[in-house]
């Protein structure tokens, strides 16, 4: 079962590579993503046994990330049917193939408990995304790709040396050298704090770079801005969560080694810094895709702060994995439609979207309302949980900075989004072939409805899943 998660997408990638017809590939893509989604659901219901040696083990944390990633992939795959119909000028072979490779690697990240293997998988996702960012084949996209690749590779390399430190710590401590999470947690007490500290710092910076915590976020706006809408969705909704999962693993380790306080403080500081940075850069943002990128920076900041706060906020962080990831999907996919229709990302040219594209515009507007934490959408639940636990824990200052940056961000986004969607279409705006169709509007709409549903009603199984996951991250008294 677990193996299927990895292998199936690879088969799909191979088929996409072999198929000669551009029209057919998106459907193949959707087919395999659908199968992957099915397997995911099956795995969520019947938990597979831990593999011998404990290399593969789908625990609650993995389940949450796997669920969000697989859902997002499915939606993006379906969207690609409609989207690529408007991008027939160039072959989509690379796109479909690398998407599936990325899916496979992503699943691997979620199910493995071997940090080394997880690192390899993460690196694979990084590489496999590079050609997708370069999909548009122009100067800007090559620049974006270059920055993305260089910065993320450096980050991942730092993560690697962090892992080496960890491994060496086990050797020094004369315990059985291993990078299996469970072994490490078992022997955590014996490891020498010097190496462990160094390891945590390098891992935080490494995975933080991949996740896009400020000031390591610098690749994000470029990559998100230049990549096609659905790639942006996958980057901000999928890969971010994978990196966050890696951080969660490190967090588990910290809990075991009792070095948690330093790690938590570091997380809070970097998280708040990310939110403030996002607030600064979102004000008067002239490019709505870049704005979304900064919003993604903001939300990884939120997740980091929540992780740092611990307690009830953990639940918020875990729920935010789903809420943020899927809402980002809504925003990026609809913004992709808007981009197609106006053939511009500049907010001074994109006006009156509700007039020209009632559906995409409405979805974009609703997504904006959702991502800024307004009920009745899912992000409200996670964000409110985090804020309230900040204040309940008496962390007034953290809560205050948190709320302040949320306010500024809301103002910034509102001043960008509302003029976009409202009003009349400027007379001189470019006429393009794009029209809202079922395949371009359906997927984001479905995600939006899902967000609304999760905002008012969390099904019991999901609730238990979240609780189990939170239990894994409890600070032991």
């Amino acid at each position: 079962m677990l193996a299927a998660l990895i292998i199936l997408p690879l088969i799909g990638a191979a088929t996409c590579w072999l198929i000669p017809f551009d029209r057919l590939r998106p459907k193949v893509l959707s087919l395999f993503s659908l199968a992957h989604f099915g397997i995911t659901l099956r795995l969520l219901i019947v938990t597979p046994p831990e593999s011998p040696g404990g290399w593969f083990h789908l625990d609650a944390l993995g389940k949450i990330v796997l669920l969000s990633t697989s859902t997002l992939f499915l939606v993006c795959a379906l969207y690609s049917i409609g989207y690529l119909f408007y991008r027939q000028e160039r072959s989509n072979r690379a796109l479909c193939m690398w998407l599936l490779v990325c899916l496979s690697a992503a699943s691997l990240v979620t199910i493995t408990h071997h940090l080394g293997l997880m690192w390899v998988a993460l690196e694979t996702t990084t590489i496999s995304m590079a050609p997708l960012i370069y999909f548009n084949r122009n100067a800007r996209s090559i620049e974006a790709t270059w920055k993305y690749l260089l910065i993320c590779s450096v980050g991942v390399a730092l993560a690697l040396i962090g892992l080496y430190f960890l491994a060496y710590a086990t050797i020094v401590a004369r315990v059985e050298p291993s990078l299996l999470l469970d072994d490490l947690i078992r022997d955590a007490g014996k490891l020498s704090s010097g190496w462990v500290h160094a390891a945590f710092v390098f891992l935080l910076v490494g995975f933080g770079t991949k996740m896009g915590l400020a000031p390591l976020h610098t690749w994000k706006p470029d990559a998100y801005g230049e990549a096609p809408g659905l790639v942006g969705a996958l980057l901000s909704g999928g890969l971010v969560n994978l990196a966050f999962l890696a951080l969660l693993r490190v967090y588990q380790l910290c809990l075991a080694t009792k070095e948690i306080v330093f790690f938590q403080n570091a997380l809070i500081v970097m998280g708040l810094f990310s939110m403030v940075m996002a607030a600064v850069f979102m004000a008067r943002q002239a490019d709505f895709k870049r704005m979304l990128a900064y919003s993604s920076v903001e939300h990884v900041g939120i997740m980091a702060v929540a992780l740092g706060l611990g307690g009830k906020a953990i639940f918020g962080a875990l729920f935010h994995i789903l809420a943020n990831g899927l809402t980002k999907g809504v925003l990026f996919l609809s913004s992709g439609n808007i981009h197609r229709s106006y053939n511009s990302k500049r907010t001074d040219q994109v006006r009156g979207v509700l007039r020209r594209l009632p559906w995409s515009g409405g979805i974009f507007l609703a997504g904006f309302i959702a991502i800024t934490g307004s009920p009745p959408f899912a992000p409200f639940i996670s964000e409110f949980t985090i804020i309230s636990s900040a204040f309940m824990q008496g962390q007034m200052l953290v809560g205050a900075i948190f709320l302040l940056s949320l306010t500024v961000i809301f103002i910034g986004m509102a001043l960008t989004v509302l003029p976009m969607v409202m009003g009349e279409v400027p007379a001189d705006s470019e006429k393009t072939a794009y029209r809202d169709t079922f395949w371009t509007v359906g997927p984001p709409l479905a995600l939006l409805l899902l967000m609304f549903l999760l905002g008012v009603w969390i099904p019991e199984p999901l609730m238990t899943l979240l609780r189990d996951a939170a239990a894994l991250l409890e600070v032991p008294q």
């Binding site: 809560g399 409202m422 008012v456």
Partner: protein
């Protein structure tokens, strides 16, 4: 009749169902292909629901019952209770009445046939807004409260921007949205702290929290800011005038008549949680309240836009209510039942009154705009001849809002005055009485504002072609206005009845038995008041009879107005809205600013020139917007960080690594 109802079904359930029905009323219209039926359907449903909901809430009010339902939800914020107590029931009344009136008005004012594009959404969000307000009054779980609160705020936003092709509508919408969302974030803090105190998100029962705990002050402040931003109390009123002015009129009626009250409800409800509130709370409320009243009405006097004037006068009325509440809180903290009772009664009754005459006036303004095609009062005039019924109803509304006997506005202000004076004998809080002259000044200014409004709109001769041929509003527009006017007259002539409504709500604050016997004393006073009102009406009738009798004797001729010797007087030389208020605005210059441009006339035969006075929103234009600009410029400096140089980015990573290393070791 209420006792008869009681036997059959549970009034609380009726109210709840009514609220839900109103919420769903707009949904069918979204799916119907033909534009008309959906609107009719939703209107019918809303009115029926209101007709069920009003008696239900009345019965809940009279029977002092508190009903609790437990909502099954799966969100991780503890149990979610829906509770209707007398306070909620009291606030439910305006929700049902105004919602029904507005939706009937919409049939004539925003007919689906003419507004195919917008009508569906408008109807839907209107219903959503009304029902969310009703549910809000029942919500007793902080998080659920917040969710309903935000649904209310957002649907109000979509109602405001329904005509978003117009620039100023968009601007009003953005300002409103930012204001309300900021307020909501402050409420996040409030409810979090509340939960931290009580240990659960359920709202605490009456008088269960100490007001002296270190967090209490922060909580009170957060509640005041968060709810005050919605109610439009003075420092937080910025969004209010433009939002109310630019929304469709029946929406403005609902917003001004009821949504503001939701903010006040939040403050009322929050104050019930604490026992022994410090005197300071009452003082703060009173000061902000009287300031809002005075400044709000001063702004209103200066306005030239019909609906802006009404919106500013909403600030004034909210201020009066807040003053009453503050006085009442002073009474609570100084253990002075009389003061508390009078303040609270005045505030609550004024809430009820304001939610009758303000919607009446806004609906009237809708009819006027329909007829004259503009909101600029300087272009109107003489509409009274074309639309006499609207003119009459509007006159009633204007007299009521000025707080003049024998209408309802006077009763609530009367109670407040009694409250101010009641401390004269006692030696504590005697300075409270100095509020009376200020309130009197406010009354005088209100008189100016509404004479100006009524005079420049309905009286005299038309000042523009647009206003030259007004048409009387249809019955769907007249009926709701007439109903509201009737309510105003009823409360004005029989204030004792109104007190029956108010007393149970007061009991929510101050559950001591005294609430039973204090009103008895004031009932007689109010009885005399109604007597005086009736006497006044009789006097009017008598004098009229005398006049008619003498008129019958002499001969009656008609002629043009005497021009005092000026033969070439045109409609343009009438005293317009701006010229009417120019004198008093000059007197109060500084409190209200105007962008005045006066032409300089040179030479023996100066060329034609224009002169204009435009009231400006001082705080918004001179303080807030520049502040944003400043922050933007400052952040522009930080934006250099993202300067596209990958080497810098590398350096950030390096630096982060380095700092963390130093921190770790």
């Amino acid at each position: 009749m209420h006792s008869a109802l009681q036997g059959y079904f549970d009034p609380a359930l009726v109210a709840l169902v009514a609220a839900l029905v109103i919420g769903c009323a707009g949904i069918p219209g979204l799916f119907l292909r033909k534009p008309g039926p959906g609107q009719i359907l939703s209107t019918a449903a809303t009115i029926l629901a209101a007709m069920a909901g009003v008696p239900a809430s009345l019965q809940l009010l009279f029977s002092h019952t508190t009903t609790t339902y437990l909502l099954q939800w799966s969100l991780p914020f503890g149990p979610c209770e829906l509770v209707i107590d007398p306070l909620s029931a009291f606030f439910l009344l305006p929700v049902f009445i105004v919602a029904a009136a507005g939706s009937l008005f919409a049939v004539g004012y925003w007919p689906a046939a003419e507004h195919r594009a917008t009508e569906r959404g408008l109807t839907f969000f209107y219903g959503l807004l009304a029902s969310s307000m009703a549910i809000l009054l029942m919500a007793r779980n902080g998080v659920f409260f917040l969710m309903v609160w935000e649904v209310m705020a957002l649907s109000a936003y979509f109602l405001i921007v329904v005509e978003h092709e117009r620039e100023n509508v968009r601007r009003a919408g953005i300002v409103y949205l930012i204001a309300t969302h900021t307020g909501t974030l402050v409420l996040f803090v409030y409810f979090s702290l509340l939960a931290a105190q009580t240990g659960s998100f359920l709202l605490p029962p009456v008088g269960s929290l100490s007001a002296l705990s270190p967090y209490a002050a922060i909580m009170a402040l957060a509640a005041f800011v968060g709810f005050g931003a919605k109610a439009g109390i003075m420092p937080f009123h910025l969004w209010l005038p433009s939002a109310h002015a630019n929304a469709p009129s029946h929406v403005s009626a609902l917003m001004s008549g009821v949504i503001l009250k939701m903010g006040l409800y939040g403050i009322f409800r929050s104050l019930t949680f604490f026992y022994e509130p410090p005197l300071l709370w009452g003082v703060v409320l009173t000061v902000c309240g009287i300031a809002s009243a005075l400044l709000g009405i001063t702004f209103a006097v200066a306005q030239r836009d019909l609906k802006r004037l009404l919106a500013c006068s909403s600030i004034e009325n909210i201020g009066i209510i807040t003053t009453g509440l503050g006085v009442a809180m002073m009474g609570v903290s100084s253990h002075n039942p009389t003061l508390m009772y009078l303040g609270m009664a005045g505030a609550l009754l004024h809430i009820l009154n304001h939610s009758f005459f303000k919607p009446l006036l806004f609906l009237g303004s809708g009819a006027i705009i329909h007829a004259a095609g503009t909101r600029e009062m300087n272009l109107m005039g003489g509409l009274g001849k074309g639309m006499p019924r609207v003119a009459l109803l509007f006159l009633i509304g204007s007299v009521a809002i000025c707080g003049i006997p024998p209408l309802n506005g006077f009763v609530s202000e009367f109670l407040l005055y009694l409250g101010f004076f009641s401390q004269l004998k006692a030696d504590s809080l005697v300075y409270l009485v100095l509020l009376a002259p200020v309130l009197a000044l406010v009354g005088g200014l209100a008189l100016i504002a509404f004479t100006k409004l009524y005079g420049s709109v309905f009286l005299g001769t038309p000042r523009s072609q647009a206003a030259a041929h007004p048409h009387e509003a249809g019955w769907p527009m007249l009926l709701p206005m007439a109903f509201l006017a009737l309510l105003c007259l009823l409360i004005g002539v029989a204030p004792q009845l109104a007190m029956r409504l108010v007393s149970p709500a007061i009991a929510a604050f101050y559950p001591q038995p005294f609430v039973a016997e204090i009103p008895a004393g004031y009932d007689s006073v109010l009885g005399r008041l109604s007597l005086a009102g009736i006497l006044l009406l009789t006097a009017v009738v008598l004098v009229t009879l005398l006049w008619r009798w003498r008129l019958g004797r002499g001969r009656v001729a008609t002629a043009p107005t005497w021009g005092c010797g000026y033969q070439r007087g045109t409609a343009r030389v009438q005293y317009g809205a701006t010229s009417f208020s120019e004198f008093v605005v000059a007197v109060f210059n500084g409190m209200v600013r105007q962008k005045i441009d006066r032409p300089t006339l040179g030479g023996l035969f100066p060329r034609s020139a224009r002169c204009s006075d435009v009231p400006t929103e001082t705080l918004l234009d001179r303080v807030i917007v520049p502040l944003f600009m400043l922050v933007g410029a400052w952040s522009a400096f930080l934006r250099r960080l993202q300067y596209g140089l990958i080497h810098l980015y590398m350096m950030y990573i390096f630096a982060t690594l380095f700092i963390l290393m130093l921190w770790a070791h």
